[in-house]
């Protein structure tokens, strides 16, 4: 049950292997990895700058992770979120959930991503060759996050 906020890259396979070692009866592992997209509506992206709120970010990630553990039967669970400047195809975020059966791991990972999108204080700024623009929050993400409370 770990949360990491860091500038440096991560290796999903190493993180997951360490988690599996510590699990009593793992049967299902779901991972989500978010990458920087190189092409957005405005055009070809040069980089993405990820700003966050140190201190509050960690608290919020721990909150969503705790909520997932309450709702599903998880043997282990991990969130790693990077900040700083990132190039296209670089990794931004990793969520990994380990459970005995697949539905717990799938639902928890999906929930974690939806909540993280609306609860974790990160802001993305897109850097193009001809300027920059702040990514706007999507109503669809708010909607998805709310769905989990029905």
């Amino acid at each position: 049950m770990t949360v990491k906020v860091q500038q440096k890259d991560f290796e999903a396979s190493k993180e997951v292997a360490a988690m599996v070692d510590g699990c009593r009866n793992p049967g299902a592992i779901v991972t989500f990895t978010g990458l920087v997209r190189g092409h957005e509506e405005r055009g070809k992206l040069e980089a993405l700058e990820l700003e966050h709120f140190p201190g509050m970010t960690e608290k919020q990630l721990e909150k969503v992770e705790g909520e997932a553990r309450k709702r599903w039967d998880l043997q282990d669970c991990l969130i790693i979120h990077r900040h700083g400047p990132l190039k296209p195809k670089e990794q931004i975020v990793l969520v990994a959930c380990i459970s005995a059966h697949r539905s717990d791991a799938f639902e928890a990972a999906s929930f974690l991503m939806d909540w993280l999108k609306t609860e974790a204080p990160f802001w993305k700024k897109e850097i193009y060759s001809d300027g920059t623009s702040w990514v706007e929050a999507k109503d669809a993400d708010q909607e998805k996050a709310r769905e989990w409370n029905k």
């Binding site: 978010g34 509050m56 979120h81 975020v93 993280l116 609306t118 609860e119 204080p121 700024k125 929050a137």
Partner: protein
């Protein structure tokens, strides 16, 4: 009172942090926003559309009508876009 600004709120105000001593009439975060807007165009530009600004009191999301006290930390920022 310690104020923090992030993302385009930070860019529009022109600083990421400041200590302020608002007058006693400032009871809520909404009052605080009104008072900040009297201090310059940069605050108006950053904070005028409150539907687009989220606030956190001592690192917890709160609404604009939340009460504030002099030792509080208040953060203003756009809706988050992590993940």
């Amino acid at each position: 009172m310690n104020l923090l600004y992030f993302a385009w709120v930070r860019e529009r105000i022109g600083k990421d942090q400041e200590r302020v001593s608002p007058p006693d009439a400032v009871k809520t975060i909404s009052d605080l926003g009104d008072w900040l807007c009297t201090r310059g165009e940069n605050y108006v530009h950053a904070l005028e559309d409150r539907k687009k600004i989220r606030v956190a009191l001592n690192q917890v999301f709160v609404s604009w009508d939340q009460e504030v006290f002099k030792d509080d930390e208040v953060a203003f920022f756009p809706p988050v876009t992590g993940g």
